[in-house]
């Protein structure tokens, strides 16, 4: 079937139009606005599915804004959608759709829901824009939209002082990070007078300024995706935001991770294997730098999660460890660029991005469900929920098995690939990774007993199950987790493999634009 070629533009324009309309629709009545927002996100998810079918079948899709054909030198902004950006867009649209369905009941008694749904739609548009764009400055603009709207959503509960402080810390860190990205873009623009990723990748000759720009970009985007030394903002903002916002933040952070991948593999693609004057090729030095940061963030994530008493902060530190796993796999993929196990590492890393978004997301939703019915979020005061919250308990079991990579769940499939490939690079890394998973399993078993089993607590005697819509939302993610866990081959061959090839094959990306592609 022929898919209209303006689909990439619609994928970002529809949520934007929805966001601008929501305040007006919200003045009519609340139920209509909720339906309107869910309708917009459902259309968006369908568009992303159409786009991904189109990209996976007929290769890279480009869309120029404002003109039919490409003028040389590239003046206009264009969207370049390859298998990797579509893979990330699928994650983003599923997670956002589930978050809005979940927040229908979860947010019922809060005020200011007009602005809440507007900001969620704006965050969707920003995140999807980051994933689909082919222009560096456009990436910076959408990065800024995502960070401003997620900062405002973190500060949603203005009556609790900690969430305001977490939002302030988040906005200061993202503002500085975004300014470093802008400075790096200015450096590249000053030298090559081009803003398009493909044109820049074609023009970069690895001068000393490009090294500075590369370091600034990796530092800023690493800071935004919560890697080790700069992850201070992550536990605060995930822990203090409402549960649906933590879920949305997970996918917003993954968009910055995608930005870092796009910079390393496509922007600096052809310079990646040059031997710098100190004899070490660029990709080995970057790879080992990322691996070192990843190992530090796994260790920090797991150890800090052990001593947490607040449920959501514990999951947030678990998320830091999971981001460490992703960067570990990507670092191995970069360090061993040409080898076979380097490619399996990259496949495992990309697959783990999808799995982590689902697992950590499900755990945040379970924490939200507990907070919804008991208004309690610290672990030592909880107990005996299994008696009257049966479904939430089952979903929690699925969630924490998946996070710690136990066979039937999807976490196992991607973590096995990561262990296998990091072992080939350096056995110690695989040992650290496996230890991290085991410790994560131990932490969550401890949480399971302290929160769900345990003696009956009089205060929670008449705790009732969460409403159907929240269970339905959590059910969707649980089914995806189990489906990916049981048929990993199916998912890897036709979604993850093309994404990895698109990322590795940057020359296809560049020649689509510069080499007279259209």
């Amino acid at each position: 079937m022929n898919i209209p070629e303006y689909t990439p533009a619609l994928v970002v324009a529809i949520p934007l139009l929805g966001a601008f309309l929501t305040p007006l629709v919200g003045r009519v009545n609340d139920k209509l606005r909720n339906i309107f927002v869910i309708l917009i996100l459902a259309i968006n998810a369908m568009l992303v599915a159409l786009l991904s079918y189109d990209v996976l079948v007929n290769g890279i899709q480009t869309y120029i804004f404002g003109a039919k054909d490409l003028s040389y030198p590239i003046v206009r902004i264009l969207f370049e959608v390859d298998a990797m950006s579509v893979f990330m867009a699928i994650i983003g649209s599923i997670v956002l759709l589930v978050a809005v369905i979940y927040s229908w009941a979860f947010m019922k008694e809060n005020t200011g829901l007009d602005k809440y749904y507007t900001l969620i739609l704006l965050l969707t548009a920003g995140m999807l824009g980051m994933m689909l764009t082919g222009d560096m400055f456009n990436f910076f603009v959408f990065l800024e939209i995502t960070s401003i709207s997620s900062c405002a959503l973190i500060a949603f509960r203005t009556d609790s002082a900690e969430s305001i402080e977490a939002a302030f810390k988040y906005i200061v860190v993202s503002a500085i990070g975004a300014l470093f990205v802008l400075f790096a873009i200015a450096l590249l623009y000053g030298q090559y007078d081009a803003l398009n990723i493909a044109a820049l990748s074609n023009a970069i000759q690895y001068t000393f300024l490009d090294k500075i720009a590369l370091v600034l970009l990796i530092a800023a985007l690493g800071m935004k995706s919560g890697i080790a030394p700069m992850h201070m903002w992550l536990p605060d903002s995930y822990g203090k935001a409402p549960a649906t916002i933590s879920l949305v933040l997970v996918s917003a952070t993954l968009a910055s991770l995608y930005g870092a991948l796009r910079v390393i593999f496509t922007l600096y693609g052809n310079v990646l294997s040059t031997i710098s004057n100190s004899g070490i090729p660029l990709n080995v030095s970057i790879g080992w730098l990322i691996i070192a940061l990843a190992v530090v963030s796994i260790i920090i994530g797991v150890i800090m999660a052990l001593i947490q008493s607040d449920f959501k902060r514990l999951i947030a530190y678990g998320a830091v460890a999971e981001i460490g796993y992703m960067f570990l796999a990507i670092g191995t993929g970069i360090a061993a660029l040409g080898t076979q196990y380097g490619e399996t590492a990259l496949t495992g890393g990309i697959f783990h991005i999808m799995n982590d978004a689902m697992d950590v997301g499900l755990l945040f939703l379970v924490a939200g469900a507990i907070y919804y019915s008991t208004k309690e979020s610290s672990l030592n005061k909880m107990g005996g929920f299994a008696r009257n919250m049966k479904y939430t308990t089952i979903l929690f079991i699925i969630g924490f098995l998946a996070v710690s990579g136990i066979p039937p769940m999807n976490g196992f499939a991607s973590k096995l690939l990561i262990y296998e490939s990091t072992f080939m690079l350096n056995p110690i890394l695989a040992i650290i990774a496996i230890l991290g998973s085991i410790l994560l399993l131990a932490i969550f078993v401890k949480v399971f007993y302290s929160a769900f089993m345990g003696p009956e607590i009089p205060r929670f005697k008449n705790v009732k199950e969460v409403p159907k819509s929240m269970l339905f939302a959590m059910g969707i993610i649980a089914c995806i987790i189990i489906f990916f866990g049981l048929f990993p081959e199916l998912v890897i061959t036709n979604i993850v493999e093309p994404a990895k090839n698109a990322l590795m094959g940057y020359s296809g990306y560049v020649s689509q634009i510069v080499g007279g592609g259209i």
Partner: protein, 91 residues
């Protein structure tokens, strides 16, 4: 000097080195190395967009999507400030 202070000073010097080197190595002020994209815009902005102001033709026509993102950012900022202050309205 507490430990945290030393780490902060070190981080500050590291970042300072990056910016100083960037400013030193960039092309001297006024001598543009490469300006093919901008020359294309200067030469046919008036024909393509019918505007006298080259910057406005870039802002709204050549790179119009950036300005849509720009308007969204302003819309986000206003929506979030109103959301944060919503509790004080009924005082």
């Amino acid at each position: 000097m507490s430990k945290r202070n030393i780490v902060a000073v070190l981080f500050f010097c590291l970042v300072a080195v990056f910016f100083i080197f960037a400013a030193l190595l960039m092309h001297p002020f006024g001598e543009i190395e490469e300006s093919s994209m901008d020359d294309y815009i200067i030469n046919n902005a008036q024909q393509d967009t019918g505007a006298n102001n080259g910057v406005t033709s870039v802002v709204f026509d050549y790179r119009g999507f950036d300005t849509l993102g720009e308007a969204t950012i302003l819309f986000t900022a206003v929506a979030s400030v109103i959301m944060i202050f919503r509790r004080l309205k009924n005082d």
